[in-house]
């Protein structure tokens, strides 16, 4: 009881100190991200006179969600998951099947159209459920065997969606997926309308900014929830298991259920992202969930700095930019550059030479692979690795004097 008073004082001091907060790296990163997120629609619309950037941003958003979720499994709990895309697929198909005409042409003979706002939770739970089903028999396995089981699972799931084509349409994909609806929405200069206007009722396919706003909300919610977990009893238990499973068990942590929770919670983020993805692209096919997707998310997590939520977000954004914007755009950049410096002749294809643009495109794999290797060699711990939390630094600073006094008495 006597300890309660100083604890209050400490947390109060923490709450006020704005300058201290800026010094906290996470707060700075989040602050910048929030600012950018707020300004992005307006700025991008005015610069590009279109919505290409906005749709890039909405797509980057689900990668961020995936990376945040996988980080719980890989970064917090230290469980290597090489089949994370499977849960993404489960989330996406849950939404796609229950909010499209697809089931009308299936043995069920009846189309289902459930609201996005309900299905996003259903997708989340389906993914979590499958996470638990897969995790239950396998989480006893040694670390790498778990990785291999998840890899196998990740290979099986898209194939099953492909094979059960009576239900899923198989290779033909599920199309005409319903869009989220809202009772009302505000449009303005950020979406190309000269003035503010209230649209009611509102369908998401009428305004690309809506998806952007939605994904920003989803990401923000995910960050808050995951950060809460990180700073909790469960978060510490995950990290303890990651560091030393035997010692964690000896400290009273039920390693099987704790790992199962990591698996289930990680999967549920993926399911959540899957529902959003299905609505956004409105077309879901098994090919969207192959091994390469799992690998890309893993790269985002590791490159960003495993275990650190803000780092993982940065990692996801950087990788998205690299894979989906920079590398595909390189041929154009290179040919443009060549003409500008008077080497335009290189752009023509002659004989064996396919032309500079084409050649650059053929280099895509090499460039991507080279970047992965180089980044890992330069920063094996990732771009923004996790650090001992700032809060503890402060806490300890307060305690230090007390401790010194204590010691001199002892």
């Amino acid at each position: 009881m006597s300890n309660a008073a100083p604890a209050r004082r400490r947390s109060l001091r923490e709450r006020i100190g704005f300058r201290e907060r800026i010094r906290d790296r996470d707060t700075a990163v989040y602050g910048i991200l929030i600012l950018l997120a707020l300004m992005f629609p307006l700025v991008s619309y005015n610069i590009t006179e279109g919505t290409a950037w906005i749709s890039h941003a909405t797509r980057a958003g689900y990668w961020v969600l995936l990376a945040i979720g996988l980080n719980v499994v890989v970064g917090f709990a230290g469980l290597l998951d090489l089949g994370y895309a499977a849960f993404f697929a489960i989330g996406a198909y849950t939404y796609a099947l229950l909010a499209s005409p697809q089931l009308a042409s299936s043995p069920a003979n009846h189309a289902v159209h459930i609201s996005f706002w309900i299905l996003i939770f259903v997708s989340l739970m389906m993914a979590a459920l499958f996470g638990a089903i897969l995790g239950f028999p396998t989480l006893r396995l040694r670390g790498d065997y778990l990785a291999i089981v998840t890899l196998g699972f990740g290979e099986i799931v898209p194939q099953l969606f492909y094979n059960f084509d009576q239900w899923t349409g198989g290779i033909n994909a599920v199309g005409l997926i319903d869009q989220p609806l809202l009772p009302a929405w505000v449009q303005g200069p950020w979406s190309g309308d000269p003035e503010f206007k209230i649209v009611s009722p509102f369908n998401f396919n009428t305004d690309p900014v809506a998806y952007y706003v939605l994904v920003c909300f989803l990401v923000a919610i995910a960050v808050v929830l995951v950060t809460n977990l990180y700073n909790s009893r469960l978060g510490r238990a995950w990290m303890a298991i990651r560091e030393d499973e035997v010692a964690a068990a000896a400290m009273g942590i039920n390693t099987v259920t704790t790992k199962l929770l990591a698996f289930g919670i990680g999967a549920s983020f993926s399911g959540f992202a899957g529902a959003y993805y299905a609505a956004d692209v409105a077309l879901v096919s098994p090919d969207n969930f192959l091994f390469i997707v799992s690998i890309t998310v893993l790269v985002m997590v590791v490159l960003g700095g495993m275990g650190n939520v803000s780092g993982v977000i940065i990692g996801a954004l950087v990788m998205y930019y690299l894979i989906f914007i920079l590398i595909p755009g390189l041929p154009e950049i290179v040919t443009g550059f060549a003409s500008n410096v008077g080497l335009g002749s290189l752009n023509q294809s002659t004989g064996d030479w396919p032309g500079l643009g084409e050649e650059t495109q053929r280099l895509n794999f090499i460039i991507y692979g080279g970047i992965l290797v180089a980044v890992m060699l330069l920063r094996p711990q990732g771009l923004l690795p996790s650090r001992v939390r700032e809060q503890e630094l402060k806490h300890a600073a307060v305690q230090e004097e007390e401790a010194a006094i204590e010691m001199s008495h002892a």
Binding site: L80, G152, G369
Partner: protein, 328 residues
């Protein structure tokens, strides 16, 4: 014996009984599929060995290994182009070309793999565990990119220069090429076994896999031993690449991705880190794939193979041979 063990034996037993029933009722089809599975399995075995050796020694799932295998095939087809080979029959020049190209490709692949280890894995030996995994993935893309850049995205022809003799025995069709694949595979695996068990370097490799620190204390040069492991893994993968090419006559730059995953599954199936296990695992997976293709349908093969993988790991985490698992 524990419950999971029973599960494992029941699964295996059921599979064997079902196959035996097929063998009795439709022997011709059964043995035809069996031969096909055996050849495929021999190639998977060669690739699986590289996965298992590397995993055994540095606990890395070397995702680039499947691409080393494919690159071997690409280099093989290019080198064969320098000889005046005749496709569709078997000439003396074909034989000479094969005798030269096999070791040359194997050595080139060994050299490339040592370089990969040196550049992408060795600097990360004390880094967080996932860092080398990511560089392995990066190297995989890189190698695929090299093949793409070199020969383009389409499939590439691999010369058909093996003898074309074939026979029908009791209705089962098989040719010299089937025998060739299985024999070459068996010879290489036996050579590897002799090497691992008899030579000093082989023993050093086993010691390092058991306990790296202890091996170092015993005066074993760890870097050299690990490099040797990559070298030998690549020799086998290179040979596997050429054999694949000779047998199927088409290759493409992403071949190593899927066959790599399957070969890796074979390595796990046999008990990862376990060399005879990888060879047997390769055969079993090859046979499984063949039987699944013809009895269940090829679109289920992937589900079957990876389903087996999960089943094995759940019921018998030490793999088929159930031997040593490096516990560190």
């Amino acid at each position: 014996m524990s419950l999971p063990d029973y599960g494992f034996y029941i699964l295996c037993g059921t599979a064997v009984i079902l196959l035996a029933a097929q063998a009795v009722t439709h022997p011709t089809q059964f043995f035809q599929v069996f031969i096909f599975g055996l050849t495929q399995g021999a190639i998977y075995a060669l690739v699986a060995l590289g996965y298992t050796m590397v995993y055994g020694i540095i606990e890395l799932i070397n995702f680039a290994h499947g691409d080393v295998f494919t690159l071997g095939a690409y280099i093989g087809t290019t080198l064969l182009g320098f000889f005046a080979i005749t496709e569709g029959t078997f000439t003396a020049i074909n034989l000479i070309a094969l005798i030269i190209v096999f070791p040359v490709v194997m050595l080139i692949m060994g050299g490339i793999n040592i370089t990969i280890e040196r550049v992408a894995y060795r600097p990360l030996r004390n880094a967080p565990r996932l860092a080398p995994l990511i560089t392995a993935i990066g190297m995989s893309f890189f190698l695929e990119g090299v093949m793409f850049l070199w020969r383009g995205p389409a499939t590439v022809h691999f010369p058909d220069i093996l003898p074309t003799q074939s026979w029908y025995v009791a209705g089962v069709f098989f040719g010299v090429r089937d025998i060739f694949v299985v024999v070459v595979g068996a010879v290489l695996v036996s050579l590897l076994a002799v090497f691992i068990n008899q030579t000093k370097l082989g023993k050093a490799m086993r010691a390092t896999a058991q306990d790296r620190d202890a091996a170092q204390l015993m005066g074993i040069d760890i870097n050299r031993t690990i490099a040797a492991t990559f070298f030998i893994g690549a020799l086998l993968a290179g040979a596997g690449g050429i054999i694949w090419g000779l047998y199927y006559n088409t290759i493409y730059y992403q071949l190593g991705f899927r066959s790599g995953l399957i070969a890796f599954t074979a390595a796990v199936f046999g008990g990862i880190g376990n060399i005879p296990g990888a060879a047997i695992g390769g055969l079993v997976i090859g046979l499984t794939a063949a039987f699944s293709d013809s009895y269940i349908g090829s679109k289920w093969t992937q589900v079957v193979i990876f389903g087996i993988l999960i089943g094995v790991l759940v019921f018998r985490p030490t793999g088929l041979l159930g031997m040593r698992v490096p516990e560190k």
